[in-house]
């Protein structure tokens, strides 16, 4: 295969991937021990939210994903420093034109039902995700895939229609990454069986096999003895419980009832530190954006999602967007009040911890004078005061705090923001279904790369944009930026395009980030070997209990 680039886990992949080496600070708190791991025991994990369902290709939510990453295996994984490492694939190659990806699978990989993980199983899983009938949230990221071919039982080749710079990132770390499903079990059982977590239907090739999921009570995974990594996993069992109240979660942690908190409320980190000084609190640069989003267009004919768009009565005017979202919001103050200083004030669409993110804070300094001048230019002032609705939801208490601070800040420039707090589902309905809203405060999904999820990749695109493009701008220049960015294989060139894109989005205020949204995991001092990789990769196969 002349001109192809061979790759192995021990070597750097290619030039631009080397640039990802720090994955922007995510290595903050990985506990690395030189001790010899001990076998046995149960890792008791607490989740703050319920698992929605267990079909790894379609069910939503981080809680599902973190199970999927441990029950399932994929082709490759990504480390906190941005390196790609083998999972079921032992090596891989990308052709020089970036259109052919060839994966060589390990010989000894088995699904939990005893069937082999072979090229046909890889083809089956990718095609299942690509099938519109599956309704997978990952499908948009496979848009570039032309076909998947089985070259031999242990070699599979993915052919692309056009280059896609984030193919490896996508396979390794978008959502669950690619989770391989046993074709035998998947064909035998229905999607409903997988959603409800029937162990015989949820058959992956990861270090743990599903034993039982009792919604509202527990999820249990046991060590898969035939896991392909010798000796791993170290713990015999992972038991997940849902504890929604952070006060209870802290009490359970202090009492030693749980070993690991998969996602801890930022509001309570200081209290937890005081209550449990030996707790190992893991965090890194924020990869989730906290936004004060503004709607740019509305349906011209009043029908939601209509392709015929008219400017939003308030924020259709870029001067008002900039007055309110850019100069009228004091991001430092928001971070100080809402996050006790434990977040990064941020303007750019991609948060500080995301690969190839660029700091464009200088484009939006807090400037009441400029905000008032722009509002006056747009026709607003004492004679015609601007009043808008600021929607948020009650999923996290910090949203209401931020909304209140934004309201106060906007009042300083003569804008009245009326806060409307709704529940999460109502918020999703309003935003996804092109409902009436002016501005909302929320944090969105975390981003491994600028490209990395449907929220943003499709939000860039004005034509055929997804429902997740909440502002619903119609600027085709953004489409061009995104297409060039995601298809550019040269790292330096891509970064330059990415910078332009982020600056353009900030300049037009199509996407209004106010800060990063901190993410915390907590473990007991006796929990060893866990490698923190933000929300992206949660693997318990290296974890062992030193007690």
């Amino acid at each position: 295969m002349m001109g192809d680039i061979p790759m192995r886990s021990t070597r750097p992949l290619f030039g631009f991937l080397l640039g990802t080496v720090m994955l922007l600070g995510l290595i903050d708190a990985s506990p690395t021990e030189a001790q010899t791991p001990k076998r046995g025991g149960t890792l008791r994990v607490s989740y703050g939210n319920e698992i929605a369902g267990l079909d790894f290709h379609t069910s939503p939510g981080y809680e599902m994903m973190w199970v999927g990453m441990n029950v399932g295996c994929g082709l490759i994984n990504i480390t906190p420093d941005g390196k790609f490492v083998p999972d079921a694939a032992e090596s891989w190659q990308m052709s020089s034109d970036g259109l052919l990806y060839t994966f060589k699978l390990r010989k000894n990989v088995l699904f939990h039902d005893g069937t082999p993980v072979d090229a046909a199983a890889v083809k089956f899983s990718i095609e299942r995700i690509m099938d519109p009938a599956t309704k997978s949230g990952m499908r948009p990221f496979y848009e570039s895939v032309h076909s998947v071919e089985v070259l031999d039982p242990l070699t599979v080749q993915v052919r692309l229609k056009h280059p896609y710079a984030f193919m490896f990132h996508m396979l390794a770390g978008y959502r669950t990454g690619l989770v391989l499903y046993s074709p035998t079990a998947t064909q035998k059982y229905t999607v409903e069986d997988r959603k409800q977590g029937k162990p015989e239907a949820v058959v992956g090739c990861g270090p743990f096999k599903l034993v039982e999921w009792v919604k509202g009570s527990h999820l249990v995974m046991d060590r898969f003895d035939k896991y392909f990594e010798p000796g791993r996993p170290y713990v015999d069992r992972v038991m997940i419980r849902v504890i929604k109240d952070p006060v209870t979660e802290m009490a359970a942690f202090k009492n030693g009832e749980i070993d690991f908190i998969a996602s801890f409320s930022p509001d309570h980190v200081d209290t937890l530190k005081a209550q449990s000084p030996k707790a190992h609190i893991m965090s890194g640069k924020e990869t989730t954006p906290m936004v004060a989003q503004m709607k740019v267009t509305v349906p011209k004919d009043g029908k939601p999602m209509s392709v015929e768009r008219a400017p939003h009565p308030i924020f259709g005017d870029v001067r008002v967007r900039k007055a309110v979202g850019c100069y009228g919001i004091d991001r430092q103050e928001i971070v100080k009040i809402a996050f006790k200083g434990q977040a990064t004030p941020w303007v750019g669409m991609a948060p500080p911890g995301t690969l190839e993110s660029v700091n464009v804070n200088h484009m939006c300094p807090y400037d009441q004078g400029k905000a008032k001048a722009l509002l006056a230019e747009a026709g607003y002032g004492p004679a015609k005061p601007l009043t808008l609705e600021l929607m948020t939801n009650n999923e996290k208490s910090v949203f209401s705090v931020i909304a209140t601070v934004v309201k106060e800040q906007l009042a300083r420039v003569g804008v009245t923001a009326n806060i409307r707090v709704v529940d999460k589902v109502s918020w999703m309905n309003t935003t996804l279904q092109d409902g009436p809203w002016d501005m909302y405060v929320e944090d969105l999904l975390s981003l491994l790369t600028i490209d990395s999820n449907g929220y943003l990749s499709t939000a860039y695109v004005s034509k055929n944009s997804s429902v997740w493009s909440h502002p619903r701008h119609t600027d085709t220049k953004v489409d061009d930026y995104y297409a060039r960015y995601a298809r550019e294989m040269d790292s330096a060139k891509r970064k330059a395009i990415g910078k332009e894109l982020l600056e353009y989005m900030a300049d037009k205020m199509y996407w209004n980030t106010v800060s990063g949204s901190p993410f915390y995991m907590v473990s007991q001092p006796w929990v060893k070997g866990y490698v923190y990789n933000a929300e992206f990769e949660v693997h318990w196969d290296r974890v062992w209990l030193d007690k």
Binding site: A52, G53, V214, K215, A251, A252, K254, M305
Partner: protein, 324 residues
């Protein structure tokens, strides 16, 4: 009595159906759409339309209700839209937890209310009475979640984990899952704080009610007669006065079951218990219609049956009461 019982049992059917119908219509009338939660990041207009069709959500509400009812009479409570799990199975898994919590909360309430009310009534306008009344007032005023957090901080955090903060250990023989912790001592440890948190508020209410009834009863002529006959104070109070005074209290106890179910939502969430309360609230938040219906059906049924039992209890408390 048999006719009365039969009548009341027959009344349960329209009552429960009425409640489920109201809940059915209300859930579909409030903003929110379960397919939003179902599809998550796979949400597109196309997928949403297909999902609504798959789950029959695009049919008229009345027709949806008839379909739900049709399945219900065949023993099919439907499946959760979000998780795909059978509703009946999940309800049955969670029912024992909430049932135990409610029964023990009521036991806690009565254990506090009966002695406090008797003392308050017998020692009217003394410090003992003022003390019992004041405690009752405080108890009524403290919300379950606040008392629950206080208990958690004292017994779980403050006393080095004297009581477990969360989770559940089943009573022996009640486990329905593959992996399950069961044991009497563990169960007692786990249920103590939630039962206290839920029961104290009810205790306060019942104390005030029972004290007032007792005050009325101990001044009645038959109590004076009992004393005049030379009966000692203990049988006068417990056999003659208390039994009669309990009638209005028992009525309120039955009605309090509704409040206990509401309180269970808060307490179960706080103590991370796998009960019906958390099942119901999760369903409402996610607009998981089938799950909400299951929750409404079982709670409505429990409420009606408990109130029937309460009515039947009157005949035990006062033999003069006869149902025909």
């Amino acid at each position: 009595m048999r006719t009365y019982l039969l009548k009341r049992l027959l009344q349960i059917i329209p009552t429960v159906l009425g409640i489920t119908f109201v809940v059915f219509v209300m859930m579909r009338s409030i903003p929110g759409d379960p397919v939003v939660s179902l599809l998550g990041d796979a949400y597109t207009e196309e997928n949403a339309i297909k999902a609504r069709h798959d789950y029959g959500l695009d049919k008229p509400i009345l027709l949806q209700y008839v379909i739900w009812l049709g399945k219900l009479v065949q023993g099919d409570w439907g499946t959760s839209i979000l998780s795909g799990r059978p509703v009946l199975k999940d309800v049955m898994l969670r029912l024992p937890v909430t049932l135990e919590l409610i029964v023990l909360s009521m036991a806690v309430a009565l254990a506090i209310a009966i002695p406090a009310a008797i003392i308050g009534a017998l020692r009217q306008n003394t410090w003992a009475d003022y003390g019992a009344t004041s405690v009752a007032m405080v108890g009524v005023s403290i919300p379950e979640f606040f008392l629950g957090v206080l208990l958690l901080l004292v017994f779980s955090v403050g006393m080095g984990g004297a009581l477990p903060s969360s989770g559940w250990v089943y009573l022996p023989g009640t486990c329905q899952t593959v992996v399950c912790a069961a044991g009497l001592w563990g169960n007692t440890q786990h249920v103590l704080m939630p039962a206290l948190a839920l029961g104290v508020g009810r205790a306060a209410l019942l104390t005030r009610l029972l004290r007032a009834s007792m005050l009325e009863v101990i001044r009645s002529e038959y109590v004076t007669t009992a004393r005049a006959k030379g009966l000692s104070e203990r049988p006068v109070i417990f056999k003659h006065a208390l039994k009669n005074a309990l009638i209005p209290t028992v009525t309120v106890m039955g009605l309090q079951v509704g409040f206990l179910i509401g309180g269970a939502i808060v307490v179960e969430t706080l103590f991370a218990m796998p009960g019906l309360g958390t099942y119901g609230i999760d369903a409402i938040i996610a607009r998981d219609y089938q799950q909400v219906q299951g929750f409404a059906l079982i709670t409505a049924f429990a409420f009606v049956v408990i109130n029937l039992i309460v009515d039947l209890t009157y005949t035990f408390l006062d033999p003069r009461i006869r149902y025909t």
